[in-house]
């Protein structure tokens, strides 16, 4: 399943957050989404998920906008904020409501709770979760509908080293299964060992869209390559 952006543009008043972005995110690989703070990464992800309305242009999943899908959680799983669950609701009930909203069998709830390693805390209220547990709960939600596309906004925030390694391997295995994995991050060293392909934006515009090897070629590290990309312009 493809994510396609066509001249995607979003302005807030006189500020241009995303400026005519053309992009295709392909299945079977981890695509890293990089750019400085305020470059438009989160706005782009929100438009892919139908949360923000593009000022012009389109964001499509296999040719259709997100809101056109009857059961979107079965097409695309997303982690947008570390804590998207009501603090007074247990993690299990959060996932149960989520499953019901998209007619996903309730048995999937226990499967994903095991998969992300928070089955032991499933009946606790999410307000008591640490940042890392919140991230794992978010991932459980993303995986709930067994979707062919995953969109993750800063998924390693708040995770300990084991968690970082775990999520890296999870993303790689999801991509190896043929899924589309689109992940934004600030952590360049982490992206260097996780991503196959990189998309870099600055000031809402596309700066680079190329395989990791190609972007790093001629530089000591992704970090050096990134600074030369984002400062030259």
């Amino acid at each position: 399943m493809l994510i396609t952006l066509e001249r995607l543009t979003k302005t807030f008043g006189s500020t241009v957050a995303v400026d005519g972005l053309d992009l295709e995110v392909r299945p079977g690989r981890v695509t890293g989404f990089l750019g400085p703070n305020g470059a438009g990464k989160s706005t782009t992800l929100r438009m892919i998920l139908g949360l923000d309305r593009p000022t012009s242009g389109r964001a499509l999943l296999d040719g259709r906008p997100y809101a056109a899908y009857s059961w979107p959680l079965r097409k695309i799983g997303a982690v947008l904020e570390a804590k998207a669950a009501h603090p007074g609701r247990s993690g299990r009930n959060h996932l149960l409501a989520m499953a019901r909203s998209n007619a996903i069998p309730a048995s999937r709830v226990d499967v994903v709770l095991e998969q992300v390693g928070i089955a032991g805390a499933a009946r606790k209220r999410t307000g008591t979760y640490s940042l890392g547990m919140g991230q794992r709960l978010g991932l459980a939600g993303a995986l709930l509908g067994d979707p062919p596309v995953l969109v993750l906004d800063e998924p390693v925030n708040g995770l300990d080293p084991d968690g970082v390694r775990w999520i890296r391997e999870l993303m790689r295995s999801l991509a190896a299964e043929g899924r589309t994995v689109f992940v934004s991050s600030h952590l360049l060293s982490e992206m260097q060992v996780t991503a196959d392909h990189l998309v870099v934006i600055g000031h809402g515009r596309l700066v680079a869209d190329a395989p990791l090897d190609e972007i790093v070629a001629g530089h000591a590290s992704l970090e050096d390559a990134y600074y030369s990309l984002t400062s030259v312009r």
């Binding site: 929100r46 947008l80 998207a84 009501h86 007074g88 247990s90 009930n93 989520m98 909203s101």
Partner: protein, 247 residues
């Protein structure tokens, strides 16, 4: 249609898996019981509007309707939190990724709130009327008790829709209290025709005319129609805002 059923199931699950709903329902019943006790004693002492008397006594259903002035606040809080709680806890974006069709989401929330406020409102009406019977006698009739459930269901839909327009829990509650509780006496007190007529168009006053079955200034059925109008208008305005604005 199955998408609508799934959206209702999800909202139903969400409603019953936080403590808010339980607090609100307990508060509603306590307020109803206390209010009904108080008004039953007033009625027994002859301290109520003589227009409320039927065959020389105040019917139990009427006592429950009077006590609703307090109890409805808990129902309003419950209903508006179903919507505004999504914004105050930051879960709205997640919810909209589950159910991206804005109209479907708002309808699901409205259906769930209306179902709960109808049943709980009818129970509260029964409790209020029964307390009145216990204190001053009379017989409970089904009409006013079910009427309270219908009124609270419509008021619930109104509060959900208004929450979708205003988003913040505090501002939504303030506007609800202004429209339902604060403005009516301010408008009615000076006894100026045009102000009284405005008050008669507000949802709480119209609901009272409907529930008390009085024909002044308009028939009870018109009172019900006015409350329905507020609920429909708030729903449509909320749907428009959800579709227009970014989450």
């Amino acid at each position: 249609m199955s998408e609508m059923r799934a959206a209702i199931a999800a909202e139903w699950t969400k409603l019953w898996t936080t403590r808010t709903v339980w607090w609100a329902l307990v508060a509603a019943l306590v307020l109803m019981a206390a209010g009904a006790g108080q008004y039953a004693i007033y009625a027994d002492n002859g301290d109520v509007d003589p227009a409320l008397l039927r065959d020389g006594v105040v019917p139990p259903g009427t006592v429950a309707v009077l006590a609703l002035a307090f109890a409805q606040l808990a129902f309003l809080a419950l209903a508006m939190l179903v919507m505004t709680g999504e914004y105050s806890t930051g879960t709205m974006r997640a919810t909209l990724t589950w159910i991206p069709a804005r109209g479907r989401l708002l309808l699901a929330k409205s259906v769930v709130v209306a179902a709960v406020t109808f049943v709980a409102g009818t129970v509260a009406g029964l409790v209020g009327a029964s307390i009145s019977v216990a204190l001053i006698g009379g017989r409970v009739s089904a009409g006013p008790v079910l009427g309270i459930g219908v009124y609270l269901a419509l008021l619930g839909v109104f509060a959900v829709g208004l929450g979708a327009v205003l988003r913040g829990p505090v501002v939504t509650l303030v506007v609800l209290l202004m429209l339902v509780v604060v403005l009516p006496p301010l408008l009615q007190l000076p006894e100026i025709g045009v102000l009284t007529a405005i008050a008669d168009g507000l949802p709480g006053v119209a609901g009272n005319h409907f529930l008390l079955g009085d024909s002044d200034p308009y028939a009870p059925g018109l009172g019900l129609l006015i409350v329905t109008g507020w609920a429909v208008a708030a729903f449509l305005a909320g749907r428009g805002e959800l579709r227009r604005r970014d989450a």
